[in-house]
Symmetry: D2
Amino acid sequence: MNALQMLQKINAMAEFNRWCGIEVTVAEVGAVEIQMPWRAEVGQYSGFLHAGLIGTLIDTACGFAAATVAGPHLLASNFSVNCLRPAQGQTFIARARVVKPGKTQIFTSCDLFAVDAGQEKFVANGQTLLAVLQAPQ
Amino acid sequence: MNALQMLQKINAMAEFNRWCGIEVTVAEVGAVEIQMPWRAEVGQYSGFLHAGLIGTLIDTACGFAAATVAGPHLLASNFSVNCLRPAQGQTFIARARVVKPGKTQIFTSCDLFAVDAGQEKFVANGQTLLAVLQAPQ
Amino acid sequence: MNALQMLQKINAMAEFNRWCGIEVTVAEVGAVEIQMPWRAEVGQYSGFLHAGLIGTLIDTACGFAAATVAGPHLLASNFSVNCLRPAQGQTFIARARVVKPGKTQIFTSCDLFAVDAGQEKFVANGQTLLAVLQAPQ
Amino acid sequence: MNALQMLQKINAMAEFNRWCGIEVTVAEVGAVEIQMPWRAEVGQYSGFLHAGLIGTLIDTACGFAAATVAGPHLLASNFSVNCLRPAQGQTFIARARVVKPGKTQIFTSCDLFAVDAGQEKFVANGQTLLAVLQAPQ
């Protein structure tokens, strides 16, 4: 099972990821891409992507990037999100990478793009610090 | 229309808040409480509340707290979330308050509790920095 | 050696803390207070306390609060600072507390006050996530 | 006066920057580099660069990057720092860039390197969100 298959399997196990329609589209060691389609249920009060879902995509992509170097036994300790522009589009693409892997914690970073009429627009960025859990023995 | 009614109206306008089942339960000047029930669709891969929804509750409660002092024309610029413990419970309660109101930006803070078997457990905290938008003229 | 004595000893070992004139004034399990006097060398371009020193006080107080529950073998992984108001005063007081202790990481929080003409003004807040290092064996 | 000269002038007006020995070495629209030499007074208790000075370099470089697009009337609202590795070296180099400029707020990002025996090591990164002040009239 390669990194992409491992992440697609983890992604399928998370009920909320399935509801969101998140798909893992790229995975290599230390870097991943995920995508999510727009639909009305993911909107905030003025019809843009809800900030909570901006956070969801950034946290999820960062966690998957970390899993490519440390396996799936990880929990986010802290994540931080910058909302740069109103997030509006037909599809959202989050690209995350590992900034610094470690034995007990992994630093990651992510950029989020909204695809509108075929054009990518940079709408948010963020970071996640993940704790590496001890694998069950 | 008092603060609670204003927030309940804004909350009802956000499709994602409705899907989440978020309810505004307390609102006074500078402080609010919101609640969300657990259901399987909000879970991550091991059955806890998805970090994206932890962020959703913190960002939403912070935005509502800010709206009690500055009205609804606000956008989150940055939010940051600490996942202190696995978030597991029948209900989640976010309590947010305004730390510092300003003309162009508002600093807020939030604690998140999971209610499990009638007991509140402190599972996450966070903060949101909101930009005050110019009201349409 | 009690908590206050332990922290005063660590504080005295850090050259930069000595240059700043930082003193540990209160220490109990999970909570500390430190103080630093104003002088011209700590100013930014318009004569307020430099944001880097706001961060220094918050990071230092958070680290000391964590040390009261986990001992001194700690390193800050991430710290975040909100500059709420221009930091101007004769003395600066940082009060930090442990939000959540853990075996491998400790979440802390801090408020910073400027004392001006005998009055405390709340000028900044922040948080630090510390990693617990393995003690040398 | 070009961007580099403007920043060198601002840098010289900040007493703490002068004490630190910070120099502005590169400035173009949206991107800057600053440097600071190691000396014993900038150390924490085990002799690495104090986290407060890691924050100082990141906040300062981010503020200078923002000033290249918005002029000097700026204040940091929030800054966040990741300490990736112990910061040890003869010189520290912070490289910052504007992620998203705006009328009222500017998002910036920074990487910090320690130069040890002629080799750059990536030791920290961070971000600063700056508020654009109304120029005095």
